[in-house]
């Protein structure tokens, strides 16, 4: 019997067929991988290729001409300006909200979290509509704003507000679970060692949430650049003035300047890709910095 068992183990065919309890047979594995990759290729890679192909179809020069044209530059400038305003505000908000929610117990917390989530679920079109109803010259605050010569919609402030609205949850959403999971022991330790609140935040909390923060900023940034529906309603589409990059793309598309439209799109897509690359790099750094804790 013993000998037989030994031969069994040594049987290469059986050894090859041996698999872990948590594994599927190879053919199942490869089928699943195949199906998943086909799905992703159809839904993610192909649209990406369309944009890149459209942008570079007529060569680099045409591409460059399209994105260095004054109206395109104005759109790029505006989008960057909006991002420069919106991302820091949402960053401060995200950190503040996450701090309040993760470090303290108070009543109404689930409501607060739901409120922060709301922009995920509200149609951008409704967002635009709300601001027109409020700030349009036929709206409630419109006459007052006009009397004080202030412009909100059809100007940069309106664009900033709707984009801030739409991108509000990204950083907060990233930080809240992270900070909840980290608890507050390290902060308490810092306080017992005599550090002030700000110093505790700066030296202890911030380094701990750094990666989550960066990821949140990256996503917020991408969404802020790409927001379309709400901006379309409140921008007024003044060429070279209140057209953001996505609106400018639509304008170009509607002017039958497809290559130019795709060129500016490719810029945004490129940004998205860079964003994703940065994110992956960030995660890779994170993993490397977290030395493997002796496992199993």
């Amino acid at each position: 019997m013993t000998t037989q068992t030994l031969t069994h183990v040594a049987n290469p065919e059986l050894a090859a067929r041996w698999r872990r309890a948590t594994e599927e047979p190879a053919w199942v594995r490869w089928t699943l991988i195949g199906v998943a990759l086909t799905f992703l290729a159809l839904f993610l890679v192909l649209p990406l290729l369309v944009v890149l192909y459209g942008a570079f179809e007529q060569g680099l020069q045409v591409w460059w001409a399209a994105i260095s044209e004054p109206d395109a530059l104005a759109a790029i400038r505006l989008s960057l300006l909006v991002v420069l305003i919106v991302v820091p505000i949402n960053l401060v908000f995200g950190v503040a909200a996450a701090w309040a929610i993760a470090k303290f117990e108070f009543r109404g917390k689930p409501i607060l979290i739901s409120l922060i989530d709301m922009p995920f679920a509200i149609s951008p079109v409704v967002v635009g509509l709300i601001f027109v109803i409020l700030f349009g010259s036929q709206g409630w605050l419109g006459p007052w704003l006009a009397a004080h010569d202030m412009r909100i919609i059809f100007a940069v402030p309106g664009i900033v507000i709707v984009i801030a609205f739409g991108t509000m949850p990204f950083i907060a959403r990233e930080l809240i679970p992270l900070m909840q999971q980290q608890g507050k022991e390290e902060e308490e330790a810092s306080l017992t060692l005599g550090a002030s609140g700000w110093k505790t935040f700066w030296y202890v909390t911030l380094p701990n949430i750094k990666w989550g923060l960066i990821y949140g900023v990256i996503l917020c940034n991408a969404r802020a650049l790409g927001e379309f529906g709400a901006v379309a309603v409140v921008s007024g589409r003044i060429r070279g003035e209140t057209n953001t990059m996505p609106l400018h793309i639509e304008v170009l598309y509607n002017e039958y300047m497809f290559t130019a439209a795709f060129a500016v799109s490719s810029l945004l897509t490129g940004l998205a890709l860079v964003t994703i690359a940065v994110k992956s790099f960030v995660e890779w750094l994170d993993e490397r910095n977290r030395p493997a804790i002796a496992s199993h």
Partner: protein, 338 residues
Amino acid sequence: MKKILRNTLVGGLATLLAGSVLADNITLLNVSYDPTREFYREYNRAFGDYWKQQTGDTVTVRQSHGGSGSQARSVIDGLDADVVTLALAYDVDALRQHAQLIPENWQSRLDKNSSPYTSTIVLLVRKGNPKNIRDWDDLVRDDVAVITPNPKTSGGARWNYLAAWGYALKQNNGDQDKAYDFVSKLFANVPVLDPGARGATNTFVQRGLGDVFIAWENEAYLSVEQLGKGQFEIVVPSVSILAEPPVTVVDKNVDRKGTRKTAEGYLQYLYSDDAQRLAAKHYYRPSNPEIAKEFAEKFVDVELFGIDEVFGGWEKAQNEHFNDGGHFDSILENIARR
């Protein structure tokens, strides 16, 4: 931000210095509809030169384009337009109805009902006219797919709709019910309703959808010339509508900004010979008959009817056909029910 601040400052200064000899930098905002992009791009340059010569002032004209109705809405909601150049009088009149931005008599302030150029509605078909489309009648055939934007959101599409309706009235001795049936059949052949004229052009030209595209004359020519040389043909129907896209100064805005003089000059200049030729170049029919003659072979002579004679003016047409509960709504409902 900076620009808006500058505009306000410049506007204020302009008021202060009105009549002085100092040359100004003036910025105008022209809020227009979709198909005028190419025309106004060129016209703005021409006007800039002309105005500099006349007054020494430097004028920069900013453009905003979109669906005619949506553009009017933006101006009503506070978009700071100095002039509007929209697809139809109803949209311009909305500025008066909803926000009193312009006076009652706005349409009589400029020549030709304030329409410096006109256009009409034609049919665009694919090369060789494979479905053999000759006139409006062919659009209700079962085997024909028709592309038009949504009349609810697109000014051009309202002209399309009214042109078809007018044709049917003419064929049936003014029988409104028959016209209703005709337009119903036509829209039953429509697979896609883009919100704007440009979107519809893209659908027909780029995406290859549909057999015939009801379009502004100038859009049709643009497609033939620019988008796909040799891929499309224009079919001029037996009768069509005289489309008059009107222009006006937005009084409340120009008075506040102190840009009235320039804005009025901007619109006046549309009637100049140079501007009329420029309009013709971009396939708009010049309203000046002299200039129109120069381009006689460019624009096919077609029997045109006006909106006032057939539909009793825009107000009435809008109420009967396009407002909620109007004919168009009921047509869509009937199609959906089938």
